[in-house]
């Protein structure tokens, strides 16, 4: 069964593109963990990176996250709703991101740039995910994504698929996903883009009952990156998170705290980027 799944994944991988470049909006806990969530049990938000992790939701999960990136350079939000039915789980999520204050410029007669106004870039990407528990400890998942982007006065539409799998064995978890399959983006002016595919291999290790370590290796467009995340339970309903989105660049780090309030949870994440500044994310989650 696993062989079939991997075969499918890599066959598709060879033939399609993606639009990974377009979207950085994932979720508050994903960001707090430095995006190292391919082998996590976050449920809805990690499903945007590895659809198989949707199997982690217990019954119903709902979330709203809002983002303020790099001191106001961009704003984003995600709404998500997931539901588990036996060995299957389904979810719909709607990430939206907005980048404003983009200078509209042209070259003046003196050869210098001159600004005539401003424009914006907004992306809306509904994602539908289905995951299936193949057998005890093994899940697979698939996401179908649509995309609608408006940049200045031009629009683009696109679609794509993510595939993933997750294996859980005692305290160890391994995962693989491929994102942005079958995704070309077509612009109103007729141009068409094929995005780079992103392959992720993820792992997770429960170090102690209160501490989980996560690590992802990503490969995209000839470049690989490694991400690390750590979750520490200070109390049953209080978790702190630490993430390094690129271990080769220690000038970036992410932090987060997750506070459980019965079936509700409030999560705050903070990101520091030595050049681009700081980002803040707030998320509210309901689980039962």
């Amino acid at each position: 069964m696993l062989g079939v799944i991997f075969g499918l994944v890599f066959c598709v991988c060879l033939t399609v593109g993606s639009f990974a470049d377009s979207l950085w909006t994932t979720g508050v806990r994903t960001r707090a963990l430095g995006y190292a969530v391919a082998a996590s049990d976050l449920g809805l938000e990690s499903a945007l990176k590895n659809p198989a992790t949707l199997s982690a939701i217990r019954h119903t999960q709902w979330r709203v996250d809002i983002f303020d990136d790099y001191n106001g350079d961009a704003y984003a939000g995600v709404y998500g709703l997931g539901y588990q039915m036996g060995q299957n789980a389904v979810a719909i999520q709607v990430p939206y991101q907005y980048i404003g204050q983009i200078p509209l410029t042209s070259e003046g007669g003196d050869g210098k740039g001159q600004q005539s106004g401003e424009t914006s870039d907004s992306t809306f990407m509904p994602v539908v995910t289905w995951s299936h528990l193949v057998m005890e400890g093994i899940s697979v998942g698939v996401s179908g994504k649509g995309l609608y982007q408006t940049l200045n006065q031009s629009t683009a539409t696109g679609a794509g698929i993510d595939l993933g799998m997750l294996v859980v064995c005692n305290d160890f978890r391994v995962a693989a996903s491929i994102q942005n399959i079958w995704s070309t983006k077509r612009w109103k002016n007729g141009s068409e883009e094929t995005m780079g595919k992103r392959i992720t291999l993820g792992s997770g290790l429960t170090l102690t009952p209160d501490m989980n370590l996560l690590g992802d290796w990503n490969y995209e467009s000839g470049q690989s990156t490694c991400q690390v995340g750590l979750t520490l339970a200070l109390a049953p309903d209080i978790h702190v998170m630490l993430g390094l989105p690129n271990i080769a660049d220690p000038s970036q780090f992410h932090l987060g705290v997750d506070l459980g309030l019965s079936q509700l949870a409030l999560t705050l994440a903070y990101e520091f980027h030595s050049v681009l500044g700081q980002s803040y994310i707030l998320g509210v989650r309901y689980e039962n």
């Binding site: 991101q97 983009i102 070259e107 050869g111 870039d121």
Partner: protein, 541 residues
């Protein structure tokens, strides 16, 4: 011992305030009844610790009863001991340290400064209703003025009596002072006739006061009839000395200035400076001076002198700016936060500080004098007292903020029905857009400004990046995507002024950058300083 001038940032001011030069200069005032100046100079030079004596070639005000010397002390000399030794000579009136002066602007490197709104602030609304009938000569005693700037060049007062021909045609002791005069280093014999602004402060102030209005470009100053007398004494780093400042004031008096804008400060009650100020006041000249930018209770000189209008800064809400000095010598408050005005090399910039509020007050006063040339300093102060508050003096706000609508009422000038629309500023700045491209120039430290990719959005495989530097620096240009990943980086050697670089829209791994939006960062670097600016690149092929 040095004095700081008022235009550097608050933090920089703290740092610089502790800086000492290796040698000191002492200003010596002596009665002329003693032996000749040359003999006396030789006597001074024999005093231990004195390296050099310079006879001040142009005695201030031509006062024949006194003469002045500049004594340069050895770096290791005890200034107090040297001063005492000089004071033992006959006929000495005083020995005063010639310290540094610092300008009075607060530097704001906040990249989201996005509006120039002082002309339509509640404090300035309707200023254009004050009729500007007569030309008024206002001396901007500062770092000079970029008299080639298209938005001020026609407002600069030139000395037709002394064209640039190598001869002192008007016999005032300053050869070819056609554009004004540069007193920087005057005490070392370095005065010259070109008061061009190498620092940017004076140009900014001149623009606030009198940038050409209704000329279809740039901004509008407060007084369309003003003539700006360009007198420079702050150097390219924004520093001057007491002696240079005083000489600049004397020069302004001689040239017939009606208002002196002094957006700088000296923390000591310098006798040489005080004499110059007193002479200006005695001539009925209105001196407007900055209170200072350290949020300190100590007002610097000349603002602290009696008779000088001391100006603090308020923000757009009418609250005291957090940097503005306060105290019992504070007179009035004027708008001084994030003021948009001229910068050298045909550019514009935001700056904040009591320097800017002082220039705004100077602009208002000059406009009043254009309306009524017979108005005296006392009348102006009385009028401001009447319109600013309840007549009582507050430690933090002085007599209060100058409000144009009350000024119009006091002058019996009808207040425009729609204040905002009536602000006849045809050339209000070109929509200073709320993004990172318009940033405050940093005249003291390295600054990268006006970072603009063009054309943006990029529709081809290349884009040009334009930016300005206030000094030469190595510049690293970087493009990041919104996940925070660095996609492309390259370096260029930037020159002072405008720079341009062209880049292929391919990342450092050879992948074409996709349609979308990226963050552009320019990092400038010299041996000792760094500065950065940020913008956004969109690609839409």
């Amino acid at each position: 011992m040095k004095i700081n001038c008022f235009f550097v940032a608050v933090i920089a001011s703290f740092a610089i305030g502790t800086t000492l030069l290796s040698a000191e200069q002492l200003i010596i005032k002596q009665e002329v009844t003693t032996p000749s100046a040359e003999i006396q100079a030789a006597t001074f030079e024999k005093i231990p610790g004195v390296l050099k004596i310079t006879i001040l070639s142009i005695a201030p005000r031509g006062n024949r009863n006194f003469r002045y010397f500049i004594a340069t002390t050895a770096p290791t000399a005890d200034t107090k001991v040297v001063t005492e030794a000089i004071q033992k000579q006959s006929g000495i009136r005083y020995v005063d340290i010639n310290g540094d002066i610092e300008n009075q602007s607060t530097r704001f490197n906040d990249p989201f400064v996005n509006t120039q709104d002082y002309l339509v602030s509640p404090f300035m609304l309707g200023f254009e209703a004050i009729p500007a009938n007569e030309a008024v000569l206002v001396a901007v005693i500062d770092s000079g003025v970029d008299y080639t700037h298209p938005d001020i060049k026609d407002r600069v007062a030139v000395n037709e009596k002394d064209p640039i021909n190598g001869i002192d045609d008007d016999g005032n002791g300053y050869v070819d002072d056609y554009w004004g005069y540069d007193f920087t280093g005057y005490s070392e014999g370095k005065g010259k006739n070109d008061p061009a602004d190498l620092y940017g402060h004076g140009t900014h102030l001149a623009g606030i006061i009198g940038a050409d209005a209704n000329n279809g470009i740039g901004i509008a100053g407060i007084n369309p009839k003003v003539k700006i007398l360009d007198i420079k004494f702050l150097n390219e780093r924004g520093y001057g000395t007491q002696l240079d400042a005083a000489m600049a004031i004397y020069y302004a008096i001689d040239r017939g200035a009606k208002v002196l804008n002094c957006s700088w400060g000296y923390p000591k009650n310098g006798q040489f400076l005080r004499e110059a100020v007193n002479e200006a006041l005695a001539k009925g000249i209105i001196l407007v001076a900055a209170a200072g930018n350290l949020n300190s209770s100590v007002i610097d000189y000349p603002a602290a002198y009696d008779g000088v209008l001391s100006i603090g800064s308020i923000d757009r809400n009418g609250n005291k700016s957090n940097f503005s000095n306060w105290g019992d010598r504070l007179d009035f408050m004027c708008y001084g936060s994030q003021v948009y005005s001229l910068a050298p090399h045909n550019s514009y910039a935001f700056l904040s500080g009591t320097s800017q509020s002082t220039a705004l007050a100077t602009g208002i006063i000059s406009r009043l004098l254009s309306y009524n040339p017979n108005m005296s300093r006392t009348q102006v102060k009385s009028l401001f007292n009447q319109i600013a508050g309840n007549g009582s003096r507050d430690l933090y706000m002085g007599y209060g903020a100058i409000k144009i609508n009350k000024l119009l009422t006091a002058l019996s000038i009808p207040i425009p029905e729609d204040d905002r629309s009536s602000v006849n500023v045809v050339d209000t700045p070109p929509a200073p857009t709320p993004n990172t491209n318009v940033v405050a120039l940093n005249f003291d430290a390295l600054s990268v400004s006006q970072l603009l990719p063009f054309p943006n959005p990029a529709t081809s495989s290349q884009i040009k990046i334009g930016f300005s530097l206030n000094k030469a620096a190595a510049v690293t240009l970087s493009i990041y995507d919104f996940s925070g990943s660095l996609r492309k980086k390259w370096e260029i050697n930037g020159n002072s002024g405008y720079n341009k670089s062209t880049c292929d829209l391919v990342d450092d791994n050879g992948n074409t950058l996709k349609n979308g939006t990226y963050i552009l960062v320019a990092n400038g670097c010299t041996d000792s300083e760094t500065a950065a600016a940020r913008s956004k690149i969109s690609i839409l092929r």
